[in-house]
Structures are given as C-alpha cells and as structure tokens.
C-alpha cells in the first residue's frame, strides 16, 4: 500500500503542473513552424510542464477540439501564440478559457516598458472586467517576442517556478478529466509534431491525419477587452451588421461573430476605450498592441504625401459605408451610431500632442 503522504504529494504535483499550449501560426511558414517545434520539443522533457499544440487560437470555432482541450486544462496555463498578448488573453476569454492575468516578462515588441507603466497607472482600469474567473493564472505570450526558442523556454521555466505552490481549491473546479477520446491527440504532442512534419512534406498517412486537429479557416471578428470595456454600447449602436448583442447580465458581447465583415475594423475605431481588438488587423493598435487606435496616434500621412489625413471616426464611417454598399444596402454616413464621444477623444489628442514637445 502506498503511504498517504506520498499520495498527497503525487496529487499536489499533478495539479501544480503548468500547461503550455502553443497556438500554431496560420499557414505553413517554415520559420514559425520551426520555432513552434523547437519550443515544444524542449518542453517535452521539462519537469512540471505539459505541452500541447492547437491550431491558431483565433481561427478555431467554438466546438473545435482544440478549444475543448483548452477548456479542459486545469490549473495554470501558458498560451504561446502569434498574436499580441492582449489579443490572446481576450480571445481565450471569449472562448471560455479564463483565469487571472499572469504577467509574462516577455513582451510584444511594440510594448515599450515605460508606456506600459503609464498606461497601467493612468487609465483603463474602469472596465467591467470578465466574469466567472477561476482561481488560476493564464499567461499569454506573443511568439513574435523573440526568434530564439531559449527565450521562451526560460520564461516558461520562470512561470513554472512561480507556480510551484498551488492553491488547494483548484481541485474543486477541474472539469476536464477524464478527457474524451477526441482530446487524446492534444496529450501526445510528440506524435502531433511528427504528424505535422509528415503533413508539411506531403507524406502524411491516414494515421498522421487522424492525429492532426480539424482544419480551421481564417476568421474575422472583434474580441472585446473587458478590462477596458465600460459597457457604453457605442459598438452595438454603430455596427449595422448585428455582430454585437448583450448577455443575460446586460453585458455587451460579440453575439454573431461570423456576421462581421472581413477586413472591417470600424467598431474598433469608434470604441471610446479602445477595447475592441481585431487580432488580424495590420495596424498594431487595432490588433491588440498596448496603446491606442487611429484616434490617438498622430497620422502623418497628409504631411508625407497622402491626401487623406482622416480622423478615426471618418475612417470608421467610410469602412462601414463600404460594407453596407457591398451588402446591397444604403450608406448611412454619420447619421447612425455616432455619439458625443468626440469630447474624450479631443482631450486625449491634446494630451498626446503635448507629449510631442515641439
């Protein structure tokens, strides 16, 4: 018979494991694939760490096995993805994978440490926050932070060290064990990597294909950062495509995400708190980099030769009209859904101009 203290230790160990999930890049960029593989391979032998790969986080549908797997992970979670960490965090929240925000020391490239502190200290702490947040930490790390797998492995080690002491109540909410059969593939990262290599070289067998997750297509929808969102409802008033709705608690939510118009980030520009993220937009601020959307950064296009020099609202109205017309509907210009949020924006811009110190 196994002595009880020993059993307890085993249980504690199992629970205090950190699960690292790598959200794979879209497409088959070999450089990205290699970094994912290097990190996964190194973590396979790392004590206290479980590692898995899932398809690109943003592209998985609500019932994709990769998301089911993520939801089933008990305890502290580290998600590495090709997205800004804010985008990762709130895409996970949207998918029902929640936890307290774990702070990673690896920051997305654009996040200037100084700006970060300013931002944390001065604003955006009046959001309505997430709900049903279990007592554990979720760390989001941007894979674009470094080209070296070692940097990520070091950070995972640091996080694992930070989380060796585990709270007991974690046991109370584990929902995912035993795992359904369809999730088994996520527990065999070595096999999945092997299948992926075979797939990339065009030699995948039927067995390989069975190990790989279901295909995902590229998607486009807004992700709400509830640490910033004040539930002001400007987005629901502005969007004329029925993307937004409210939940039973009257909190704004992205209800019909696939009604969203591919490429259109207009609601993000209209949001007074810059709480709406389009993780795949080319402008970093809209894609979830710390910082602000169009309105706050000075647009120099007019000085550098363009003739646009538009405000964020002008752009949003134009983008919305374009989608309305493509839908066979009438353009509405500024007649619908533009409120007096302009005041705030002006204050912000003036503050920003002062910071330019001419």
């Amino acid at each position: 018979m196994i002595p009880k203290p020993f059993l307890n230790a085993v249980v504690a160990m199992a629970v205090s494991k950190v699960t690292v999930v790598i959200s794979q890049g879209q497409g088959r960029n070999p450089v990205r694939r290699q970094l994912e593989e290097d990190i996964a391979t190194a973590l396979l032998t790392e004590p206290g760490v479980d590692v898995s790969l899932v398809p690109h986080l943003y592209d998985m549908s609500h019932d994709h096995t990769g998301l089911l797997f993520l939801r089933s992970v008990p305890g502290n979670l580290v998600v590495l993805s090709w997205l800004y960490d804010r985008a990762t965090r709130w895409t996970l929240d949207r998918a029902g994978v929640r936890g307290h925000e774990g702070l990673s020391l690896l920051k997305s490239a654009e996040e200037d440490a100084e700006d970060d502190e300013d931002e944390l200290a001065s604003k955006n702490r009046n959001g309505i926050g997430s709900v049903n947040v279990p007592n554990r930490r979720v760390y989001a790390i941007d894979l674009r932070c470094s080209v070296s797998a070692d940097d990520f492995i070091r950070e995972v080690r640091r996080i694992a060290g930070e989380n060796t002491v585990q709270t007991v109540e974690l046991m109370s909410w584990i929902g995912g064990t035993p795992k359904p059969e369809q999730l088994q593939r996520y527990l065999q990262p070595e096999r999945m990597l092997e299948a992926r290599r075979a797939f990339d070289s065009g030699n995948a067998t039927l067995e390989d294909k069975a190990v790989l997750p279901e295909d995902t297509g590229r998607r486009w929808y807004p992700v709400i950062d509830y640490s910033r969102c004040t539930n002001c409802m400007e987005c629901i008033d502005f969007c004329l495509f029925g993307v937004y709705g409210v939940d039973a608690l009257d909190r704004i939510l992205v209800e019909q995400q696939d009604s969203c118009k591919k490429g259109c980030p207009a609601c993000s520009r209209v949001c007074p708190e810059n709480a709406i993220i389009f993780p795949q937009h080319k402008t970093p601020a809209i894609a979830g980099a710390q910082g602000e959307v169009g309105g706050l950064k000075i647009d120099l296009s007019k000085l550098f030769g363009g003739d646009s020099g538009e405000s964020a609202i002008d752009m949003a109205v134009k983008e919305r009209d374009r989608e309305l017309i493509l839908d066979g509907r009438e353009a509405v210009g500024t007649s619908i859904g533009i409120k007096q949020k302009v005041r705030d924006e002006i204050d912000q811009l003036i503050a920003d101009l002062d910071a330019l110190e001419f």
């Binding site: 490239a109 654009e110 200037d112 700006d115 080319k282 402008t283 970093p284 601020a285 169009g294 309105g295 950064k297 000075i298 647009d299 120099l300 296009s301 007019k302 000085l303 550098f304 030769g305 363009g306 003739d307 646009s308 020099g309 538009e310 405000s311 964020a312 609202i313 002008d314 302009v342 924006e345 002006i346 811009l349 003036i350 920003d352 101009l353 910071a355 330019l356 110190e357 001419f358």
Partner: protein, 152 residues
C-alpha cells in the same frame, strides 16, 4: 560639404544637409548612380515620427509609382502613416537593413537609415528650397496635426 541648414521645430533644431536634394514629402534624395537616388526621411520627419518600430512596403522593387501612390506603412511610438514616394518615378530597391529592424531610421536617417533607391520623374528641391518650404508650411503642418483634433 558646405554648412548644413537648419529648421527650428519649436525648440528642436532639424538639420537639413546641403549635400543632397529634397521633396515636399519630407524626404531627402541623394544621387547614387545615373538618374538614381537614395531616398530617406529628413530630420523633420524623424522628429515627428520619433521611435520607428514598424515599416512595411506594399509594392515590389522595380515598381513604377505615381505621385501620392501609397507604397507602404510606417508606425512609430507617436504616429502612424502611409508611405508615399517623393514624386512620380520608379522605386528600384529597398534598404535591406531596415526590413527586419527599422530603427536605423532613427539612428542614421541621413546615412545607413535610407529607405529605398528611386528614379525620380520630376524636379527636386535644393536644401534651401526645402527649408523655405518648411518655413512656409510649418503653420499649416501644426494645424494639420492638431486639426485631427478639430475635425472629429
């Protein structure tokens, strides 16, 4: 090389070297071969941009461009902007050094931080003419920047 010229942006002194030509798009052009010029940001542009951290070209090398055609995007700590050529012409090649790390624009805007090689199809400004243009346009430029406030 003769004495460089200056332009005062408030308290900041933007250096405008006399050994090259300029465009009203706040770019310098320096001849590097027959009919071919290296193009870069002037000190005036760099001051407005401050720390550049993102630069992306939306056209291929050897592309003929018209005036005001968008050829890329830039983002810095303080600003975003589309990129435009100095005038109509041909963009021959891009500075490979900046493709991975655009910070060279801040470090050496008149030197190794050049943007691309270009064959202009229009007349260029001398340093003195560019400074004159800056003087005449400064009021307007400030209004353009701050005008983004009033427009919305």
């Amino acid at each position: 090389m003769s004495e460089p010229l200056f332009f005062m942006m408030g308290l900041y002194q933007a250096v405008i070297p006399d050994d090259r030509q300029y465009s009203r798009r706040h770019l310098w052009l320096q001849e590097c071969g027959p009919g071919r010029y290296r193009v870069g940001f002037t000190a005036y542009s760099v001051r407005l941009l401050q720390d550049v951290y993102f630069l992306e070209w939306s056209i291929d090398p050897e592309t003929i461009v018209r005036d005001q055609q968008e050829i890329g995007e830039i983002e810095s700590a303080k600003a975003v902007s589309s990129m435009f050529p100095p005038c109509a012409g041909k963009v021959v090649s891009f500075n490979p050094q900046l493709l991975n790390d655009p910070s060279g624009i801040n470090a050496q805007n008149y030197g190794s931080g050049w943007l691309y090689e270009f064959e202009p199809a229009a007349n260029l400004l001398s340093a003195a003419e560019y400074v004159e243009f800056l003087n005449s346009a400064w009021e307007d430029a400030q209004r353009t920047i701050k005008g983004q406030v009033n427009e919305s």
